[in-house]
Symmetry: C2
Subunit: 516 residues, 2 copies
């Protein structure tokens, strides 16, 4: 990406000056980011303590419904009170405190290679594209249910942009039956990207199949695989206070194999959660702590990410909203709670708009800023989400990437040494002159500024002459080019063959139905 | 605004519950805002000192060209070295330091009444709509040169939204000749708003006419008027290092009458300023300090705002860009410099897009966030700016107001007391239940959440049935309704009559040509 824009810049400049010059490529690292902003606080330390303690009281006194017998058994063995008839688990605070203590504060999430490997800890910053959507939309083909082709396009876009550090849950390829879907999604992630693959927790067999594909494709022994996380899942509790079977099973299986789970209650204020930010975050925190506890009871030190996804609904219609002031506040409070636990954590952007218009862009920005300022380690749904996650838009994915690239730019320092302050450069230009050809400018013009991906800065006259092309249409040209690019990651043909054979065999055996 | 949306919310809710309930109106103050964010820093304290000292060295050694003889004389009297042939003034640092010391750190900017009166000091936050544009655009009438009708529409929108604290330079009413234009713009501001009026510094006579209109209309003696600022001007130095005649004259006249000037160098990195953020800010700081010095030499304690407007150009085309990472960095550094001087200051958002698409929204958000996080006292061009200020868009003004209202929401605290955390509310809802009818929800549903101005959160099906209306079209309905509303500010008819007679007389006398 960076290389592409800069080559363009260089050529154009060479045309202008009419002479050849060595290629100077602007090279800003978007792969390894530290959040440059001090986390913002919305509530006092005492209030954080109050929320934490109330959440523990919720787990102890009100309990959480755990639908998977194996999970209830694990909690019971650890000393939790269990009501088998009601499937309720009452978790005492010692269990939570021990889990928070044993959950790793920092760990490495291993991609296909060094450059796609991530250090997961508070202070670091990673992004995932918008995902988990049943539908996909673009200006040319319209809104439609996701297919394997859509899934491949999303994975290709994820690979293309350095700013995406993990593959997300992406769009659902609904032309592939659910019991075979994970074969195709795991294969696509392994063969088309180097980035961290996502595995849906849809029953033990799907998870085990996916682990096997990843392990074999990466050439890892079982021990190697279990020593570090190579993939991740997202676990949503069913708020309020239910952990269902596939989710509990996913937590257990990922923890046993040392793979990463992101525990994200999805708590919409006024609907599945209290109407107040503090109340919704108390519920979210309780559910997250319960899930974290389950992983640590299964395997102490299993890599886990604290998660939150708390926004509000429209009280007139019940529709979810994103990028609202309440969503923003909830993210900030979630960051305070994650730091209270000292755990890496997941936050999210998103938009409830139906198309990629000004509303959509504003909501996505508010969401992303809430993630930036709350010190999120991983930002989920950071690009492309529309309709509160019912659709991912390819043109929105591109316009949101511009936003994320700008955030990544801000992760790099502002230089203000003597050569930047530049008294000499200032002396060189007389009052009323210009700096276009100043020495400092000539040294830096190819590399000083961010080169936009989709923004068009031409004036109204030129823009009109060029056909009045809006951001969505420009974004369309961009994603179309990217998804048609050939991807060659130099995979060993034997490994591709292995994947195909594995899929063939498991398909013959009946695949992996979700019911567990 | 707030009242309108909430009345709507209430009615709808009453329909749903089928019973009458007392009117509960969500009432969040958007008029008096404190910025809730700790200012962010981009460079070290030493680097801030280096920029400040280099800027003083620029003024001392390189000098600034001051085109107005009276201004050169003032600097000369204060001890600056003046080269009359070259019109250059070399300002020693003692002059700047004395000016920074005498410039007020806090003052009151008086509107028509208590509610529109503003405390101007670091930490407070005020917004102005986008302005200074030759053109105006909207979906129905297209892009066209501004007229008095356009100007009136902008003023009406400014009055309508609580989030606008001052009238901006707005759109140029080009159907009124320049020598008479200030009569119409000042009259419109006085009669259609209660907010702080803006006066263009286009020569002494225009400024004096405007002062007289404001003074008489507000019913103030000359002493009263001079005791507090009742209006303001924006002074742009001509970067690099020129202070032209009308700008210098404006600084002098506003300072003499105790009215507020905002001193804003417009320094585009790579064009009128060095290509580096630090270099451009050094130049901007030097020019701002020179202007501030002039006001304080005229009248010690004259109300002045430190200003910056620093963004970058596209190095391929020279086109200005806004909402870029470099614009963001420059704002953060400017905030550090303003705090170094301990002066209230002006920053700006803006967009270089040609229409209100995703690019425009993203750029405006990046700009506004740079203002929020750099601790700006006044945010200029905070809504509606397109084409880097060549056009103001009425639909964009409305979609940007939504962004500003969300910022204003964030200025109010997040409550996390025991009634918000609400253990009882959490106890009330069983696992898998919902909070729609919980007691806490019923108490708060009318007031807990921000009610959107233009965002549409309906689902795709409803949105499609309702005609696939995008944010710009919804914004169009909103501004059209506002500009057609009757405005009744209960003005004394005698004062209106005074304005009309004044304008008639001055027009007969030939108005006020700009040449001074």
């Amino acid at each position: 990406m960076q290389e592409m824009t800069n080559k363009r810049g260089r050529r154009s400049r060479n045309r202008r000056s009419g002479k050849a010059s060595p290629a100077i490529v602007r090279n800003v690292d978007y792969r390894r980011l530290r959040n440059p902003f001090q986390p913002v606080t919305a509530i006092s330390t005492d209030e954080v303590e109050d929320i934490h303690n109330t959440a523990l009281r919720v787990l102890e006194e009100l309990g959480i419904k755990v639908l998977l017998p194996e999970a209830r058994e694990i909690f019971k063995t650890a000393g939790a009170k269990v009501d088998e008839t009601e499937e309720m688990v009452f978790i005492n605070r010692e269990i939570i405190e021990a889990a928070v203590a044993s959950a790793p504060k920092s760990f490495v999430l291993k991609g296909a290679n060094e450059i796609s490997t991530l250090a997961i800890e508070l202070g670091n910053l990673t992004f995932q594209p918008g995902g988990g959507t049943p539908n996909i939309t673009d200006l040319e083909r319209g809104r439609r249910p996701g297919t394997l082709e859509s899934y491949h396009e999303m994975v290709r876009l994820t690979q293309h942009f350095d700013i995406f550090h993990m593959v997300g849950p992406s769009v659902e390829p609904q032309d592939i039956p659910v019991h075979l879907r994970h074969y195709e999604t795991t294969k696509a992630q392994l063969t088309l990207t180097e980035k961290i693959p996502f595995v849906f927790s849809r029953g033990k067999q799907q998870v085990m199949d996916s682990f096997e594909m990843i392990r074999e494709f990466r050439g890892l022994s079982e021990n190697d695989f279990q020593a570090d996380p190579y993939c991740y899942t997202i676990i949503n509790s069913n708020s309020p206070r239910i952990l269902d079977q596939p989710m509990a099973q996913g937590l257990i299986d990922f923890a046993r194999q040392g793979q990463m789970a992101i525990l994200t209650p999805f708590t919409l204020m006024g609907a599945m959660a209290p109407i107040t930010v503090a109340g919704a975050m108390t519920l979210s925190h309780a559910e997250a702590c319960a899930g974290i506890a389950l992983t640590q009871l299964v395997q102490s030190g299993a890599p886990i990410m604290y998660g939150t996804f708390t926004s509000n609904v429209d009280m007139k219609s019940g529709s979810p909203a994103f990028g609202t002031p309440e969503h923003f506040r909830a993210s900030i409070v979630a960051g305070q709670l994650a730091r209270h636990l000292n755990l890496p954590w997941r936050c999210a952007g998103g938009s409830a708009a139906n198309i990629n218009d000004a509303q959509a862009a504003h909501e996505s920005q508010m969401g992303i800023w809430s993630c930036m300022l709350s010190g999120a380690t991983t930002v989920v749904h950071s690009a492309g989400w529309l309709e509160g996650g019912l659709t991912v838009s390819l043109e929105k994915l591109v316009t949101d990437v511009e936003m994320l690239q700008m955030m990544a730019e801000l992760c790099h320092p502002t230089k203000a040494g003597s050569s930047e302050i530049g008294f000499d450069a200032l002396s060189e230009v007389q009052p009323g002159g210009h700096f276009f050809s100043a020495g400092q400018t000539m040294e830096r013009y190819q590399t000083e500024f961010y080169q936009p991906l989709v923004a068009d800065w031409s004036n109204f006259g030129n823009w009109t002459e060029n056909g009045l092309v809006d951001a969505n249409s420009r974004a369309t040209e961009i994603w179309k080019k990217i998804v048609s690019n050939e991807i060659n990651l130099n995979h060993d043909p034997e490994r591709i063959k292995y994947l195909d054979e594995f899929i063939h065999r498991r398909t013959q055996e009946g695949g992996a139905p979700i019911d567990i």
